[in-house]
């Protein structure tokens, strides 16, 4: 009797449980049409971290490991790995039987070449991420041993198909890598094979029948369309011509209307790897802004909730400091805060000695905003209003991206910017560049433009780079967050929530912190 009941309940569980947990059996076949915007300048991420390249490239080329939502490493081209107790040797056991799309074997020589000749020399962040990497030993075709001069705990977060992409040595060795013709027609190990790129029109990928993960990929083809106009992208979603797009592919004010049709999934997960932050950079050479009280007053004068809710239609989360809350391993909320308080702001500005004039104004600042779309412009307009209320007269100046970058990072001719940074999975990779004295570098985009230099901060930053103990490192990064919030050389406004818009037909498109930078081998289309 009890056995029978057990059997019945188990089969009921199996029967009912399956659809409830959403674990449906994937269906093979079909073409996934997605949008990629803007058009990528090339198709290889190994030495160019531009976003649109990542969306395309990660389907064709792979990294040693991949990650779950909490950035825990999972096997990809490496099946297992071992970090030595001193943190200076990492041994990767590579997957057997993996072939490049042209039929050649994937070996440890490819790993060695990519790490030393590509990432370390050419990747915009690689030079610092892999700074301590001195050699990659290849005792056998399936073993790659990374040798480090100092422990680099953050390196393990930089080995995905986007951040640490493996290139085929036989096609790149001895060539001018950034100008290799294969950058426009990549040959990889990934689930999809590059087929065609008609510039300004589309990129076509086809199923790799010899993919190492035998049952996958499920899709026959992926078409990446280039649709430059945001409203036209929204229309293409509505007609069903486009099924998926990442990085907020439609205007924020169209989202509600599209959601109301019930045809789409709106997914804000899958950007944890990038951890985007919207922030204001202050030029500390400015005679007003060099006073900490002025910067703190600005922090009090800006209503972050309002910015997120009205300007960004809720696609964000007010920031509490330089490390976004999605970086669960490092995030600390116990840092100085500046709640929205106009009186306090007024008080701080009075204390700093910048009294209101007869016209109610204290002083004037010019505000440059990153020209990435109307949302950025509206944020600048809000800031003008908000700071006007505490007597700071703000003049908004607009220019295109190239001019903005040159003004801020080469000429340093700005008072205050609104800008956008990726915090990336590890603060040593993404956050320290804003605060480190050694990163005050003329001409380098997204460096320490405020000119902030604090020996105590530098000490914390440099200690965190080589601290191998997880707990101690977390403490150091907590310290970094406190100092940053106290000094406010930049004001972190909010964590940007990108969204992926997908037709309900598309299944399993977001299942890790990599989101649209994932390989898409497990994506399938409901019939």
């Amino acid at each position: 009797m009890s056995v029978l009941r057990f059997v019945v309940s188990v089969s009921l569980l199996v029967f009912l449980g399956a659809p409830l947990s959403g674990a449906q059996e994937p269906v093979k076949g079909g073409t996934l049409t997605m949008v990629v915007q803007p058009e990528p300048p090339g198709l290889v991420s190994a030495f160019n971290s531009a976003g649109p390249i990542g969306v395309v490239s990660t389907k064709i080329l792979e990294g040693l490991i991949t990650y779950d939502y909490d950035m825990n490493p999972k096997p990809s081209l490496a099946e297992t790995w071992k970090v030595s107790p001193d943190g200076k040797t990492i041994t990767f056991n590579l997957r057997k039987g993996v072939k490049w799309h042209d039929g050649k074997d994937f070996t440890s020589a490819d790993v060695q070449f990519s790490a030393l000749k590509v990432w370390k020399e050419l990747h915009p962040r690689g030079r610092s991420t892999f700074a301590k990497l001195t050699a990659v030993e290849t005792p056998s075709p399936l073993i790659a041993i990374f040798k480090l001069s100092e422990p680099s705990p953050y390196m393990m977060s930089a080995l995905s198909g986007y951040e640490g992409q493996i290139l085929p040595k036989h096609l790149y060795d001895g060539t001018d890598i950034p100008q290799n013709p294969y950058n426009n027609k990549p040959v990889g190990t990934g689930p999809f094979v590059f087929k065609e790129w008609q510039k300004g029109n589309f990129i076509l990928l086809e199923r790799n029948p010899a993919y190492w993960d035998k049952a996958k990929p499920y899709l026959d083809k992926i078409v990446m369309r280039i649709i430059p106009d945001a409203s036209a992208r929204a229309a293409a979603f509505e007609t069903g011509e486009v099924l998926l797009g990442g990085f907020s592919p439609v205007p924020l004010n169209d989202v509600k209307r599209l959601e109301a049709t019930g045809k789409f999934d709106l997914e804000t997960k899958g950007y944890e790897y990038l951890a985007p932050l919207f922030l204001l950079e202050f030029n500390l050479k400015n005679k007003y802004l060099q006073d900490k009280r002025v910067r703190q007053a600005i922090a009090h004068a800006v209503n972050k909730d309002l910015v997120v809710k009205t300007v960004w239609f809720g696609f964000g989360k007010p920031a509490t400091g330089p490390v976004p809350s999605v970086l669960t391993q490092f995030y600390s909320a116990a840092v100085p805060q500046y709640p929205f308080d106009i009186k306090k702001a007024d008080q701080l500005l009075d204390d700093a000695g910048f009294k209101r004039g007869t016209d109610g104004k204290r002083f004037k600042l010019v505000h440059d905003f990153l020209p990435y779309g109307s949302d950025y412009q509206r944020t600048a307009e809000y800031l003008k209003q908000a700071l006007g209320k505490v007597g700071i007269d703000v003049e908004i100046r607009s220019q295109d991206t190239a001019a903005f970058l040159k003004r801020v990072y080469t000429d340093g001719e700005f008072d205050m910017t609104s800008n956008f940074f990726y915090a990336l999975p590890d603060p040593t990779i993404g956050v320290q560049r804003i605060y480190w004295t050694k990163n005050i570098k003329k001409g380098v985009p997204f460096s320490n433009a405020s000119g902030y230099s604090n020996p105590e901060m530098d000490k914390v930053i440099e200690a965190a780079q080589i601290e191998h103990d997880r707990k101690k490192r977390k403490e150091l990064i907590g310290r970094l967050q406190s100092i940053a919030q106290e000094d406010l050389p930049v004001l972190d406004l909010f964590e940007v929530r990108f969204f992926t818009l997908a037709n309900k037909k598309v299944q399993d498109h977001t299942n890790s912190a990599e989101g649209v930078y994932g390989s898409f081998s497990g994506v399938w289309l409901k019939k």
């Binding site: 073409t31 049409t33 803007p38 058009e39 300048p41 090339g42 160019n48 971290s49 531009a50 976003g51 050419l122 915009p124 962040r125 030079r127 610092s128 950034p178 100008q179 013709p181 950058n183 426009n184 008609q198 510039k199 300004g200 029109n201 589309f202 076509l204 083809k221 078409v223 369309r225 280039i226 649709i227 430059p228 106009d229 409203s231 036209a232 229309a235 293409a236 509505e238 007609t239 011509e241 220019q399 295109d400 991206t401 190239a402 001019a403 970058l405 040159k406 003004r407 080469t410 940074f421 990726y422 560049r433 570098k441 001409g443 380098v444 985009p445 997204f446 460096s447």
Partner: protein
């Protein structure tokens, strides 16, 4: 005939300094914009190391003084080499050639449609001047001319693609369908309808108004009165006498528009995701892809010069009073 060759040879010789001047002017104009291609690439990548930026600038030749860059560029142009687009990692000529078919298809269809329909509407309006039909044509032309082109495009997409589902909302073909022969042509034709209509609507307004004005002007001339006095019927007067004389300004306008064919239409190409040259040039501005932009501008200027010569020849053919000198 020898006279014609002499004329052509002189025009070509005259064109050389013009085109050279345009190239030099463009070069300096583009370099007035702050920032360069390496800055943009590094910005898009979300950062770059100092060493990498320096490497990139050296490779792109951006570390050289401006006069050296200009000298290199002119030397390239003189040998019919438009240079290399570092951003696209492709030769400029290859990039332009890739976009040319789509550009020509859209522009030729749109201008031809606008030219023909514009003539018909303009003639109709002029023949019924100050009657209801004239007012209707004039109002429609004015509306089409005054409405922003991207807005018309988006409304067309909303109506014909989203609501009615008759036509694709953008792109140039069904990708990955591997269509052949007639099916392929039909597929492209379907994608071509909305952008062509949108673009033609704008030009149409121009042609209609010009044709109407031109017809009315000729109607007022003495030889028309003479023709009528001879007892010719209105139809014959309109088509034999007035139309043939009124069409000359239309040829001028057509010449102007053919000259700008290569520029494409940025707005229509953007709204419909049409892979044309206009967008390529527009994006090149923001990407500071100077070689590419200079290449497109140079080819466009060559086309303008060429079409001007052609228009002069057509003039001489259409109106015997005009002589080639």
């Amino acid at each position: 005939m020898p006279r014609l060759f002499g004329y052509l040879a002189r025009r070509v010789l005259q064109a050389v300094p013009i085109v050279l001047g345009i190239a030099v002017f463009n070069f300096f104009l583009l370099h007035l914009a702050p920032g360069d291609a390496a800055d943009v690439l590094a910005g898009e990548a979300g950062g770059a190391s100092e060493e990498y930026l320096a490497q990139m600038k050296a490779k792109f030749g951006l570390d050289q003084p401006l006069y050296v860059q200009l000298g290199r560029y002119l030397a390239n142009v003189a040998s019919f080499d438009l240079g290399f687009s570092f951003r696209h990692n492709m030769a400029v000529t290859e990039l332009i050639a890739g976009r040319l078919p789509a550009t020509l298809l859209l522009m030729v269809m749109a201008v031809a449609l606008a030219f023909v329909v514009g003539i018909v509407l303009g003639v109709t309006a002029a023949r019924h001047v100050r009657k209801p039909i004239d007012s209707i044509v004039s109002i429609v032309a004015l509306l089409a001319y005054a409405t922003p082109i991207f807005w018309i495009g988006l409304m067309m997409i909303l109506l014909f693609s989203v609501n009615l589902g008759w036509l694709p909302s953008g792109g140039m073909q069904t990708i990955g369908a591997d269509l052949q022969g007639a099916a392929y042509v039909w597929d492209i034709a379907q994608h071509l309808v909305l952008p062509t209509l949108t673009l033609a609507l704008f030009y149409l307004a121009l042609y209609t108004r010009l044709m109407r004005a031109s017809m009315l002007e000729v109607y007022g001339q003495d030889f028309v009165t003479t023709a009528r006095a001879k007892g010719l019927d209105e139809r014959r007067v309109a088509y034999r006498h007035v139309f043939r004389n009124a069409v000359l300004p239309m040829v001028t306008m057509l010449g102007l528009q053919v000259g700008s064919l290569l520029g494409g239409s940025v707005l229509v190409e953007t709204v419909f995701g049409w892979p044309g040259l206009g967008r390529l040039a527009f994006e090149a501005v923001f990407q500071r892809d100077h070689n590419l932009l200079l290449g497109i501008l140079l080819i466009s200027s060559l086309l303008v010069v060429g079409v001007n010569v052609l228009v002069d020849l057509v003039y001489a053919k259409l109106d015997p009073r005009i002589e080639l000198r």
